[in-house]
Symmetry: C2
Subunit: 390 residues, 2 copies
């Protein structure tokens, strides 16, 4: 041994309520699924399960795209998958930037050699179709990319009009649905989305580790008709198609237990039904918003475009947001998120995603926040907030 | 809903004995660890656990490298991590190719823009130091790369002499330890390895989904002193260092439950002790080899360089290897692997990795194989084979 090392104790996580920007709470049956014994990644039973995952993902994405499967990485790997497979060096792409994830996609695309045109909006506001129309007059991008649900700001950009404009200009549409999928309508085929990625740890309420993706036949034609190979071997859809397709050509070793978890999580999503699930997210968002209003707290994202699953709450003047966040965690076992970038110190990010989105959790959060506010000398009528959120 | 879809049943995996090239069997306490409730990836308790994982990985890699952590992808992502961070377009690199994984690394390096010089050996044989010395006379590569344990052939290439030659020539040494780590000696610092990656699903007996990596200070100097950004945002060590380091700058969302599993798996490795674990792998390999010999079956890899954890068995003339493999799986619930590439149809790959490496499993496999041989009309004295493997 190199050094005297004391063996760490087994890790026993505290019982957190996960109300941050993800991961969200995970259902017991999903946790349990991961404790089942492993099979090989080429085992006939695993291959059958992979097929079921693909079928269920198509349902959740509302698409018939054959090429629909989970990339073996987290949501950011899904972003890189979509961009790296579509971009060749020198390609022009148009990216809507209104938060962390649009900013990140610019970075990813530039590393793929793209010439990036940015369409920007202040953090917290949506990308307007008019902005995209204007930008499309001045270029001919290979794709237009939008962050559907900006997890860093709480804004939900409508997609349909932007999709129509993009296609009219001969561009593909790439959509980030990391935080939206499973929590609000995402209709890949009806909206004409060509490339879409998500994460498992948000409104699907599965642990992080996989990135569901889907590519339309048009996107696949671009990816398979490239002049140069995809710069990432790990994320090359031409190789992944043979692994996840009928041929089962060995590529990498799929994360077995993560796929167990995703299978069960998708089952729960579809057993509830997408419409019912979206309605639940909307209703609990409304309850939270009403409760916050009763405490004189307001949401930061653009009115009429506020995400149901990720609520950005303006920190009141004179309040140190980190103190409140830390007390929520240590005294109440509730995790919420901090603001990022220009919103640092100005907002709290309160997730109501998947399993976390229950009325009981809304009340638990309001009650805890109210008590902390009262401790800090900010008189708060907790009972009134709970009534408002009933 | 797009189509009438019947909800799949919960996935209940059959009780396989995993004796293929990975994944290997996983200990109950590791499976159980994944069923614990989630915490956030920036939770103080998770950060403390990440630190423990890094400390334990250093021990298992036998290194003091600060930059030692699990990449959030499978072993192949670990390969791409090492190559993509070290290579800039136009760089010359020297890669030993004696199986699938050396072939793969050539592909990965070329996609990073490297000029690749290959040093080749027949599949099943090792890369000889003399070959490397010869090649180093004709070029000045940035790194020399070797697959320590070629999972496709069962050969274990000795590293120390190649490392000395590489450093004398001013090159870094990159080592693939996907199948070796935890199953036979891997001494990163003593051997002077600059960049190393592994997978979790082989001799660490953790489910697939993470790729432990370690970079020496010299490799880090190369990665941080690059002229061009790393082409992969997801795998850029300059960003990952800030996430896995003291700053905890948000990059991606680490796969929480996979890290729970790795934490527990590393605890088990270190509780057993590396020396004892290596000895166990060696002894069960010897037992298997003796039992196979008693059945007139021999190993395919080069004598004196056969892996303990992955045994490639020559398929006897006249035997359809796929028929035997399928019967092992369906009648005995034992998974073994097929040959790949030029070895397709010629070998079986029998893993004795991590939890799978027990004397009882050696016996169970020999007994099942003997019965199948007898059913196929190849007279086999199973009792003699078991005695030989006692």
């Amino acid at each position: 041994m190199l050094r005297a090392m004391q063996l760490p104790e087994p890790f026993l996580p505290p019982p957190r309520l996960l109300m941050g920007p993800g991961p969200s709470d995970v259902a017991p049956s999903v946790l349990h699924a991961m404790s089942r014994p492993l099979v090989g990644h080429l085992d006939p039973t695993f291959i059958k399960m992979m097929e079921e995952i693909k079928t269920m993902l198509r349902e959740v994405f509302q698409t018939n795209n054959e090429m629909t499967f989970p990339v073996s990485g987290t949501g950011s790997a899904g972003m890189e998958f979509c961009v790296a497979n579509l971009v060749e060096p020198g390609d022009e792409v148009l990216i809507g930037v209104n938060g962390v994830f649009g900013t990140r996609m610019v970075e990813v695309a530039e590393r793929c050699g793209a010439r990036v045109v940015k369409v920007e909006a202040p953090w917290g506001r949506i990308i307007e179709p008019g902005q995209i129309a204007e930008a499309l007059k001045r270029g001919r991008p290979k794709f237009v990319a939008i962050i559907h649900a900006e997890t860093s700001t709480g804004a939900c950009t409508p997609v349909e009009e932007i999709s129509r404009l993009s296609h009219d200009a001969g561009a593909l549409l790439l959509l980030d649905t990391v935080t939206s999928l499973g929590g609000c309508p995402v209709r890949v085929d009806a909206w004409g989305i060509d490339a879409v990625y998500s994460g498992t740890q948000k409104c699907l309420s599965c642990p992080p580790g996989l990135a569901p993706v889907s590519l339309s036949p048009r996107a696949m034609a671009v990816a398979t008709g490239r002049k140069r190979k995809v710069q990432s071997w790990y994320l090359d859809v031409n190789l992944l198609a043979a692994y996840w397709g009928q041929e089962r050509v060995y590529h990498h070793t799929a994360p077995i237990t993560m796929n167990y978890a995703l299978h069960e999580a998708l089952r729960l999503v579809l057993a509830e039904g997408l419409d019912a699930r979206w309605r639940r997210h909307e209703q609990n968002h409304q309850a939270l918003k009403a409760g916050l209003a009763a405490m004189s707290l307001e949401l930061a994202a653009q009115a009429d475009h506020q995400l149901w699953q990720l609520n950005t709450v303006r920190v009141p003047k004179g309040v140190d947001e980190a103190v409140v966040r830390k007390r929520l965690l240590t005294d109440f076992n509730i995790e919420i998120g901090a603001g990022l970038g220009p919103l640092k110190g100005q907002i709290w990010r309160v997730g109501l995603m998947g399993e976390t989105s229950t009325r009981a959790n809304v009340h638990r959060f309001l009650s805890a926040l109210g008590r902390i506010q009262n401790d800090l000398g900010r008189q708060t009528d907790v009972a009134a907030a709970l009534r408002a959120a009933a």
